[in-house]
């Protein structure tokens, strides 16, 4: 008999041991997020337990003993009402401030982040390093380096989710979203698509490979293609004929793009916008929505002719023009 009970308990113990409780924490923010999560867990279990325990206690202590019981006629208690309004209010306020400040801190990538580009499409991830290598469903990154992912979708809304880093962001068609992380442990971690996107949503998964800096450098240069994103973008720029109007010395029908990245640009509508990835993309796919004061609206749209990956390569090229210009000027 005890043998049966013992093996039953062993079974339960094995099952319980097989159940992980905490996912791997492999980024700089993971521990902070987990602290908040476990504090909330403690609050939840405490109050749930306290309510259940109180109910049990009252159920037993005040169980009906006879049909002629005369229970107390209590209307309420203002002090109690205030107490159990204010105390939960304070708990909520504390959690709100804690969670919000953590979120705020996590929302701004450090200035020196390495940028990697992500394109989601049904049902795979295309990742593009600025140095050139492209990956499908895999992301190689160096450890202890802040990485910023700039992401867009070719079709429907997807979501880039790495549980081990505690980061997630929707990936939207027609615009760029971004997240950042800094991995703290080498290893292999899940990438999941976190927004239902159709038939093979559950197969739109991959791996992040966090490597030591030396391994990462070796991986970067080991690939067959050594052309950087900017170089690919330059070839595309010329192939599509952009260079016929956007002549670098400004003599073409379109504005020179040398050094424009990062500067504010005043549009014909009067508003001023910074020249960032979003503006450059908009200029490529919908040029008539970004008119400049001194140039006629003759730029054709390239929507449908190039995909989001190629847009990002062109963006990288335009960015690089700024760097060259600054280098030229600093010489």
């Amino acid at each position: 008999m005890t043998g049966v009970i013992q093996s039953g308990l062993n079974c339960v113990a094995t099952v319980l041991a097989a159940i992980p409780v905490r996912p791997t924490a492999a980024s700089t923010i993971a521990d902070d997020v987990d602290k908040l999560h476990f504090t909330l867990t403690a609050i939840t279990l405490f109050f749930t337990g306290a309510i259940f325990a109180t109910i049990f206690y009252f159920m037993i202590k005040y169980r009906r003993r006879s049909e002629n019981d005369r229970p107390a006629d209590i209307e309420g208690n203002l002090k109690l009402e205030i107490a159990w309004t204010v105390i939960p209010g304070i708990i909520c306020a504390v959690i709100f401030v804690w969670a919000s400040s953590l979120y705020f801190r996590n929302s701004r990538p450090p200035a020196a982040s390495t940028e990697i580009f992500v394109i989601g499409k049904q049902w795979m991830w295309h990742l593009q390093h600025p140095e050139g290598p492209r990956e499908i469903n895999e992301l190689h990154v160096p450890v202890n380096v802040p990485i910023k992912l700039t992401m867009t979708s070719e079709d429907v809304i997807h979501d880039f989710y790495v549980p081990a880093f505690r980061v997630k962001k929707d990936v939207l068609p027609g615009r760029y979203t971004s997240i950042w992380f800094q991995a703290t442990k080498t290893g292999t971690y899940h990438i999941f698509c976190g927004q239902y996107c159709g038939a093979d949503h559950a197969e739109m998964i991959g791996w992040v490979y966090v490597m030591t800096p030396t391994d990462y450098a070796a991986w970067l240069s080991g690939g067959s293609r050594n052309e950087s994103m900017a170089q690919t973008g330059e070839r595309l720029f010329n192939k599509l004929g952009c260079d016929t109007c956007h002549v670098s010395d400004g003599t073409g029908r379109g504005p020179s793009l040398a050094g424009v990245y990062g500067k504010p640009e005043k549009l014909r509508s009067g508003e001023t916008r910074p020249v960032d990835e979003t503006l450059i993309r908009q200029a490529i796919v919908n040029p008539n929505s970004i008119l400049l004061p001194n140039y006629p609206p003759i730029m054709p749209t390239f929507q449908g002719q190039i995909n989001e990956e190629q847009v990002l390569q062109l963006v990288a090229y335009v960015k690089s023009l700024g760097a060259e210009e600054r280098q030229k000027n600093s010489k």
């Binding site: 040029p287 008539n288 929505s289 008119l291 609206p297």
Partner: protein, 231 residues
């Protein structure tokens, strides 16, 4: 116990779930007001979406707005305002105990004005838009002279047709209600004591009028037509 006697003393049109005629009238009025609140939320969702897209594509919406025939919109506005007047007069006639034919006259005037509204809209506006290839999803043609914002002009017309179409549907329902009311009046169902259905339907009709008062400037009067405006 007192109910049974009271029941037989109640006027025709009294509904059994109520205790007093006053209660019934108050309930009917409140019911119609609550219904109008739901209609505000219904149209409100559309107005919100319209406002957002208008701020995103101001040039395209201005082009679209200028393609509408403002004279017909303005005429229709006047037609509807008059119909609200005749509706109010119909109710007032019932309230002050005027003859059946007076009430019916005003009701029919309201219906004619409502039908005129629908007719002007259908023929002079929508049919004209169809001929001009301005119906999204059916025969829309983007004109080169619209320039760079041309691809967004169908969006304006989508909202135009949906909002005015929904409004027109409410008008048609209103005319149907008025038909029923006319028949009821002819059968002598109303008096200066009991005219609640007229009153409630009047509320509905005025609401449909007010929706148009909002629609007209939003759709037809973007950007000014006589000089200034968004470039």
């Amino acid at each position: 116990m007192a109910d049974l006697a009271a029941h037989s003393a109640h006027p025709p049109g009294f509904a059994h779930q109520f205790e007093e005629m006053d209660q019934q009238r108050a309930a009917g009025n409140l019911g119609m007001w609550v219904f109008l609140v739901t209609e505000i939320m219904f149209f409100g969702g559309l107005f919100a979406a319209y406002t957002i897209y208008r701020s995103l594509h101001p040039q395209a919406f201005e082009i679209g707005s200028h393609l509408l025939e403002v004279q017909f919109g303005a005429t229709n506005t006047a037609v509807l305002i008059c119909s609200s007047l005749t509706m109010a007069l119909a109710i007032h006639s019932a309230q002050t105990g005027k003859s059946k034919s007076t009430i019916i006259g005003y009701l029919i005037a309201t219906m004619i004005l409502g039908a005129a509204f629908i007719g002007i809209k259908l023929y002079f506006e929508w049919y004209h838009d169809y001929v001009e290839h301005l119906v999204p999803g059916i025969n829309f043609v983007i004109r080169p002279e619209w320039g760079h914002s041309g691809s967004q002009v169908p969006m304006f017309f989508c909202f135009y047709f949906f909002m005015t179409g929904l409004h027109a549907l409410h008008m048609v329902i209103g005319i149907a209600i008025l038909t029923v009311l006319t028949i009821m009046t002819a059968r002598g169902r109303f008096s200066s004591e009991y005219y609640a259905p007229l009153e409630i339907s009047g509320l509905y009709w005025h609401f449909v009028d007010i929706v148009w008062i909002f629609l007209f400037p939003l759709l037809y009067l973007i950007g000014g037509r006589y000089g200034s405006g968004v470039h």
